[in-house]
Amino acid sequence: MNKDERRALFGRWFSDNIPHNKALGIEVLDVSRGMASMRLAWRPELVGNPETGVLAGGPVTAMLDACCGMAVASMLDAPRPFATLDLRIDYVRPAVPGEPVIAEAECYRLTRSVAFTRAFAHQGDPKDPVAAAAGTFMMGTKGRPPSTGTGR
């Protein structure tokens, strides 16, 4: 599978199988082994503070969770269920209203039971992030989802 085919496959799977990602309008930008990036467009209904028009934390949290999860999925040679175990988000600065937010995640270590990920969200300049995330995922065995977490 070449890069474009891989990206198209992940993108299709992402919006066909994950209703909430579709509802938020999250778009897969790129996927390669251990890496994933996505984009979330600003929309008035995603605003958390009506006085400033800044996005709520929730949509950014959902995209970072999804992006870390996709980075884990990209490490697997055969499909395996896994579930988010924990996710920490640091909201470094407000996202500029009206502009999309981009998430870039990396799965930097995959063991038999746990996958470790990091991610940043930015608005065009990765050196000037709006949020940073660290997520761990519990890996299930084939056909048997892990007993904890949100499932995937």
């Binding site: 958390g48 503070n49 800044v54 709520a56 175990l85 920490r88 988000i89 909201y91 904890t148 995937r152």
Partner: protein, 152 residues
């Protein structure tokens, strides 16, 4: 005076918290709303098919749980403190304990420590059985300062 402060004052006076939801566009869109029916301030996220993150289990998207835990803390702070603006989230750590089924999710927040500017909040979310939480979180919020880093 902003619409938020007006609603907030009204809610505090009448004891009716539900209209607070309409002051935060993202909360209204997600159908995440505070309620006081039991005498305790709880936040409810009504189930909708767009909240699903895993269609085969099925299970709610981890991001929606993170988002509702964060909103539960915000509603709690709006209700329990004298803040007149939306508290600014600094960071949140979510532990995913169980797969969340396609049901309403409830959450309760507790202030662990309130300083002059910073407040530390524990939040717990459950579905049909409060003794079996689906997710817990700890988060920091800035209450007053206008020029500090945060998501909002």
């Amino acid at each position: 005076m902003s619409a938020l402060i007006q609603r907030l004052r009204e809610a505090r006076k009448t004891g009716n918290v539900a209209p607070l939801t309409d002051t935060i566009p993202y909360a209204a869109w997600m159908r995440i709303a505070p309620e006081t029916g039991t005498g305790e301030l709880l936040t409810r996220m009504r189930f909708a098919p767009e909240l699903i993150g895993n269609t085969s289990l099925p299970a709610l998207h981890g991001g929606t749980l993170g988002a509702m835990l964060e909103m539960a803390a915000i509603f709690h702070l709006l209700w329990e403190t004298d803040t007149e603006t939306v508290p600014k989230i600094v960071n949140i750590t979510v532990d995913y304990l169980r797969s969340a089924r396609p049901l309403d999710t409830l959450a309760a927040a507790k202030v662990t420590k309130q300083g002059r500017r910073m407040v530390n909040v524990d939040i717990e979310a459950w579905q049909d059985d409060r003794s079996k939480p689906v997710a817990t979180a700890n988060a920091h919020f800035l209450l007053k300062s206008a020029d500090e880093p945060s998501a909002l």
